[in-house]
């Protein structure tokens, strides 16, 4: 029997010592900010009828998602984002144009209009393109890492993916995480408990006291963090990613926060109870982060304002450029479904 990796809990971290993550915070915050600004724009484009099919935002998830991916290295590591991972995608190096092109259906985008919104990726650059079926990415990342092990290039590599509280109820999550544990893969599985799966609260989703209690049952390390506290989150992600990188096997990180938007932009989230909206969980990670950064002397308010203005300008210009690009055209698309076109029906 394999010795159990202990479950660590680190809800409370000593705030006087930022040294562990101080140098990482600017990078993380920048990814968070860019994601927030970008998604605000996506929301207005959706409301203006410029985006079809739905817009699903990561508002409130920026600290967790951005921190996780900030500790990953594009070209080396793997990051399989899910619905609310714009900050992580940005931190991992996804270009702004990949986002606007996919949302606005430009044929120049990585999905060429064949797929849209969050269903995009650059699998050859370590960022798989999610499918809708929740939980599917866990085994996928496990397989990517197993391949690297067989190829002798697993050394120093981490594979990460993220899911929601609702996605933990899928068989795919269970089978995938168990497989990763059996293979002792350098993997970080981030579960963001944003209290809801669409409209469904935790009480109809699971019955354990805390999702991090699942770690022990898989024989993986568990980490718990309040997801809107940037410093705590950064420290936790740094620790989890390093533990995975250093041979500690899969790391299950559970972050609590509140989704600060509807499930999609069509949803007003009126089912979120007032008490929850008034609770500490509802604090916006952006504001918390800005307070922390200013307090710690990392940035001044005016620097933050400047960064934001620049992010806004970048997004505006990406959208403007994308809007001039062509939509896909059925006669120009080759409709190829397989590499071996000749084997298509």
């Amino acid at each position: 029997m394999i010795p159990l990796v202990p479950v660590t809990r680190e809800d409370r971290i000593d705030r006087n010592d930022l040294s562990g993550v101080r140098e990482d915070l600017p990078r993380i915050y920048l990814a968070m900010l860019r994601a927030r600004v970008l998604e605000d724009k996506l929301s207005s484009l959706y409301k203006a009828g410029k985006i079809v099919g739905g817009v699903y935002l990561g508002r409130g998830h920026e600290a967790v998602s951005g921190s996780l991916a900030s500790y990953l290295h594009r070209g080396i590591d793997i990051f399989a984002p899910l619905i609310r991972d714009q900050a992580g995608r940005t931190a991992f190096g996804e270009s702004l144009m990949d986002v606007t092109r996919t949302y606005l259906g430009s044929v120049e985008g990585p999905m060429k209009g064949r797929d849209g919104n969050i269903h995009r990726g650059r699998p050859q650059e370590g960022m798989p393109a999610m499918i809708s079926h929740l939980g599917s990415s866990v085994a996928l990342v496990a397989g990517m890492l197993m391949a690297r092990r067989m190829q002798g290039r697993l050394e120093g590599v981490v594979g990460a993916t993220s899911l929601g509280d609702g996605a933990t109820s899928t068989g795919a999550f269970h089978e995938g995480l168990n497989t990763a544990a059996v293979e002792k893969l350098p993997m970080v599985v981030l579960v963001v408990n944003n209290q809801f799966a669409y409209s469904t609260g935790n009480d109809r989703q699971f019955a354990c006291a805390d999702l991090v209690d699942r770690a022990r049952g898989y024989g993986v390390a568990g980490h718990k963090v309040q997801g809107n506290d940037l410093i705590a989150v950064a420290e936790t992600m740094k620790k989890a990613v390093s533990a995975a990188r250093d041979g500690g096997g899969p790391q299950l990180v559970v972050a609590d926060l509140l989704r600060l938007c509807g499930h999609g932009e069509h949803d007003d989230a009126s089912y979120v109870p007032a008490e929850m909206r008034a609770s500490g969980l509802a604090r916006d990670c952006m504001q918390v982060a800005e307070g922390q950064l200013i307090d710690a002397g990392v940035f001044s308010r005016s620097q933050l304002d400047e960064m934001r203005a620049q992010a806004v300008a970048e997004v505006q210009s990406a959208v403007a450029q994308t809007q001039q690009e062509s939509a896909p055209h059925p006669h120009h698309d080759d409709w190829r479904t397989m590499y071996h076109g000749e084997l298509e029906e």
Binding site: G105, N117, I131, A197, T200, W335, T337
Partner: protein, 322 residues
């Protein structure tokens, strides 16, 4: 007052809950929230304890429904999208569908699959999986195309002792309206002549019935062609008699479907007609389906992926020319 297709589904659920204590609803976000498409809006308040939110566990949802059916309930499962029912396939096709054959004990459960494409929904929220389910023994698979059928066939499905896959078309949800929920009372298993004609028969079902009628109108305007449109209503069982009677009148068959083109309903229709009514055919029986690619996200690609009145009309012109 007008009823939309989704109103009809809502009414069928409401009336079934009202009239039969054995009925309950189970699915993701169907409780207070009323479901992703509002098919169950307000029902949890009206029928407390009988409209239950499920975890994101399609396999368990189907297992739960089957278990409840064995104990005398009439579960109605809502899959949030038909596409997610692949996760539940095992419980549906191996557990529920085989049960009567194996044990003699029926499994009266209904699985609602919000099916079919809408612009911008992409590869994972647009699929039409009726043929997958029809391939397995033991299931009834219904595919209503009208508001009244959506109402009546759902009520009827819930009352059947056998497991029913109820494929409701998302494109019709809000677009299709009717002044009444009362239909012509055709039972499950009977097709309907939606539009009478004499020059060719289009056999289809679900949203494509409306596209076929449009194509028929185009051809009538164009050259006075009278195209008969047969709405299968259920694709398992298939009402082969009505289909063949129509082909007997017209001598020409086009089978149209929105699903992927390999196999499926149109192949089943064409091969039945070719086998059983060969001598009635004046021209090769034809098929028109979606393309054999995942369903594209972009509305411009999507519109070219599935049959449209234009492409149906084009297929009919070829058929009439023969």
């Amino acid at each position: 007052m007008d009823f939309s297709y989704i109103d009809a589904i809502h009414a069928a659920l409401n009336d079934s809950l009202r009239d039969d204590d054995r009925v309950f609803l189970y699915g993701q976000d169907i409780g207070k929230f009323g479901g992703a498409f509002k098919a169950t809006k307000g029902l949890q308040d009206l029928y407390p304890g009988r409209v239950l939110d499920a975890p994101i566990s399609e396999d368990a949802m189907a297992g739960v429904a089957m278990g409840a059916a064995l104990e005398g309930m009439r579960p109605v499962l809502e899959m949030q999208f038909a596409d997610f029912s692949t996760i539940a396939l095992n419980q549906i096709v191996n557990h529920a569908a085989t049960h009567f054959y194996r044990t003699g004990v029926p499994v009266p459960m209904t699985v609602r699959l919000p099916s079919g494409g809408t612009p911008g929904s992409g590869p994972f929220h647009s699929q039409s999986l009726e043929a997958i389910y029809a391939s397995f023994p033991g299931l009834v698979v219904v595919t209503p195309a009208t508001v009244a059928d959506a109402y009546q066939m759902l009520v009827e499905s819930i009352q059947l002792e056998d497991p029913v896959i109820f494929c409701e078309h998302k494109f019709l949800y809000r677009w299709l309206k009717s002044s009444t929920l009362q239909g012509d009372g055709l039972p499950i298993g009977k097709a309907r002549i939606t539009r009478a004609g004499k020059h060719a028969t289009v056999v289809t079902y679900s949203a494509m019935v409306h596209e076929a009628v449009r194509a028929a109108e185009m051809l009538y305007d164009e050259g006075g062609w009278e195209i008969e449109v047969v709405d299968l209503r259920s694709i398992k069982p298939i009402d082969t008699d009505t289909v063949i009677a129509s082909v007997a009148r017209t001598g020409r068959l086009l089978a149209v479907g929105e699903a992927f083109p390999w196999g499926g309903v149109t192949a089943e229709i064409v091969s039945r007609v070719a086998a059983d009514a060969f001598h009635l055919l004046d021209a090769p029986p034809a098929r028109l389906n979606a393309r054999d690619t995942p369903i594209p996200y972009h509305p411009k690609l999507w519109a070219d992926h599935r049959p449209t009145p234009q492409t149906i009309a084009a297929s009919l012109r070829n058929l009439l020319k023969y």
